[in-house]
């Protein structure tokens, strides 16, 4: 038991500081992906309900591709391929120099690509749930498209889309575990290294398990609060 406590301590002998660093990387990765994914997903959803057929098809192709590929494969393709692709483009244009895509950026990009394709579906169904009358009322008042979107549609949209987006956030937290495969020092990789070096695989992977559960618990409490906040204007049945 003593040895377990030593292994789990902070400092040189223990692994807790490495694992704490892993938690930081996981949370930072998820938080960095969220705004990018939400923004792209929102844009794609706008594109999907446009009257312009080419825009709709282009948006559909985007979601079909990124929902059809395994996340691990998207991650590898972005990590190995994006660097090669950027170098090719730079060579074609004639510029020299190296733009480096490190694992964190590759992780954010691939997770955002996948998150945004699922988020666009959530936004789309939320858009469909808003009555046409809201738009018409806004236009009747003389407001422009952008103002109608910002002041009238968006608040309702967020409230309707929140459960779906909350689900996607939980999935995102779990998907961050994949970046351990490209060398990023997240929870799974740090516990994996600890497990390998100390040979206490069950202890450290069990800790990883518990840490993910804790993150999920905190997230669901926060999301419940957000949903309750959003619903405070609704009448009690």
């Amino acid at each position: 038991m003593d040895s377990y406590l030593t292994l789990l301590s902070f400092g040189d002998q223990g692994w807790s500081d490495e694992i704490a660093w892993g938690v930081l990387v996981t949370v930072t990765l998820a938080l960095a992906t969220l705004p990018v994914g939400l923004f792209i997903g929102f844009m794609i959803a706008l594109g999907k309900q446009s009257e312009e057929r080419s825009l709709r098809t282009a948006a559909d192709i985007y979601t079909t591709i990124f929902r059809g590929l395994p996340e691990l494969l998207t991650l590898f393709i972005v990590y190995y391929g994006l660097q090669i692709g950027i170098q090719l483009i730079l060579k074609l244009v004639g510029l020299q120099g190296a733009i480096e895509i490190n694992s964190f950026v590759a992780g954010v990009i691939s997770l955002a690509l996948v998150f945004s394709s699922y988020a666009s579906e959530v936004f789309l169904s939320a858009f469909r749930a808003i009555p046409k009358g809201q738009y018409e009322g806004g236009y009747a008042l003389g407001l422009r498209h952008g103002t109608v979107m910002k002041k009238i549609v968006l608040p309702q949209l967020i409230r309707i889309a929140l459960p779906g987006l909350g689900n996607l956030w939980m999935i995102l937290l779990k998907d961050t575990a994949l970046v351990s495969a490209i060398g990023l020092t997240d929870i799974l990789r740090q516990t994996g290294i600890a497990a390998r070096v100390t040979k206490e695989a069950f202890l450290f992977f069990g800790i990883a398990f518990i840490l993910y559960l804790v993150l999920a618990l905190i997230s669901s409490i926060a999301l419940n609060r957000l949903e309750a906040q959003g619903k405070r204007g609704e009448q009690r049945q």
């Binding site: 494969l73 190995y80 998907d175």
Partner: protein, 277 residues
């Protein structure tokens, strides 16, 4: 048919539709479509230039065997998961606090943690319990990486399938249960003959989603020495460092997922054709 329409005003063709303006939507739509077409052309061109008959001959059969491994692994784990999900669903719907609590904990744990963490815990974690498992005679099973993957996937998909089934059963109107009770059917008969068939129709789409998610999630077994499609891809890339290995893997996975999605949509349309107005 009046004087006006027949003699004074001859029939005219409909006015031509106004020319579509080059609004922002149209410009961005066209640009994006051009981007996708260029990407597709680039992909085909890349595969054409990178085509190496030696590599295809050498790694093609391996890719196909990896594909078979993936499909077998996913198929068996989904089937076993379906069987396991039944008691879990019943547990979730039970009024008994102990059973309900256990079922809730099971579902929460397996849906709240990443599949890859579950796989590593079972593969590496149980490896450190080798003596205990050997004493019970289970080591023979857990020694093989494929079995560990199957075990982890079954547990995971059972949790998700339990939630799908529970949501579907909940969606069946209360009136169905009451009607069955009025007819004198007991709970088991009600469940199998009245509720479950209706619930399965609702559950069809989420089940299809779950199968697709399992196929995509199965890619991670490549990280625990199982040579499924992703594993063979990584093996090919590690020897040739040729990026087209990943592109071919993407093509395989994409075709698999899309085919499954379309088949499932047809299946759902056919099974719910009695509900269409």
């Amino acid at each position: 048919m009046s004087y006006v329409t027949e003699t004074l005003v001859a029939a005219q063709p409909a006015p031509p539709p106004p020319p579509k303006a080059w609004a922002a939507a149209r410009i961005s739509g066209t640009l994006l479509m051009l981007f996708w077409i260029a990407a597709l052309a680039g992909l085909v061109f890349y595969l054409y230039t990178a085509w190496d008959i030696d590599k295809i001959e050498r790694y093609g059969p391996k890719f196909l065997s990896g594909l078979q491994t993936t499909l077998t692994l996913v198929g068996i784990s989904i089937a076993l998961g379906a069987v396991l999900s039944l008691p879990v669903t019943l547990g979730r719907m039970s009024k008994n606090p102990v059973i309900g609590g256990l079922a809730f904990a099971y579902v929460y744990i397996f849906r709240g943690t990443p599949l890859i963490a579950q796989l590593f815990l079972i593969y590496y974690g149980l490896g450190s319990f080798r003596e205990q498992l050997q004493a019970v005679g289970l080591w023979v099973f857990f020694r093989d990486a494929w079995n560990c993957a199957l075990f982890a996937f079954t547990l995971n998909t059972a949790a998700y399938q339990a939630e799908i089934l529970r949501g579907a059963i909940d969606s069946v109107p209360r009136g169905q249960w009451e009607g069955a009770e009025a007819l004198g059917l007991n709970r088991i008969q009600t469940f199998w003959k009245i509720i479950l068939p209706q619930a399965l129709i609702v559950a069809l789409r989420p089940y299809g989603n779950e199968i697709i998610l399992m196929i995509k999630g199965s890619a991670i077994v490549a990280l625990v020495t199982v040579f499924d499609l992703m594993g063979e891809t990584r093996r090919a890339f590690s020897r040739t460092y040729d990026f087209q290995a990943y592109i071919w893997a993407a093509v395989f996975y994409f075709v698999m997922v899309e085919a499954l999605r379309i088949v499932w949509e047809r299946l759902e349309a056919r099974l719910t054709r009695h509900l269409k107005r």
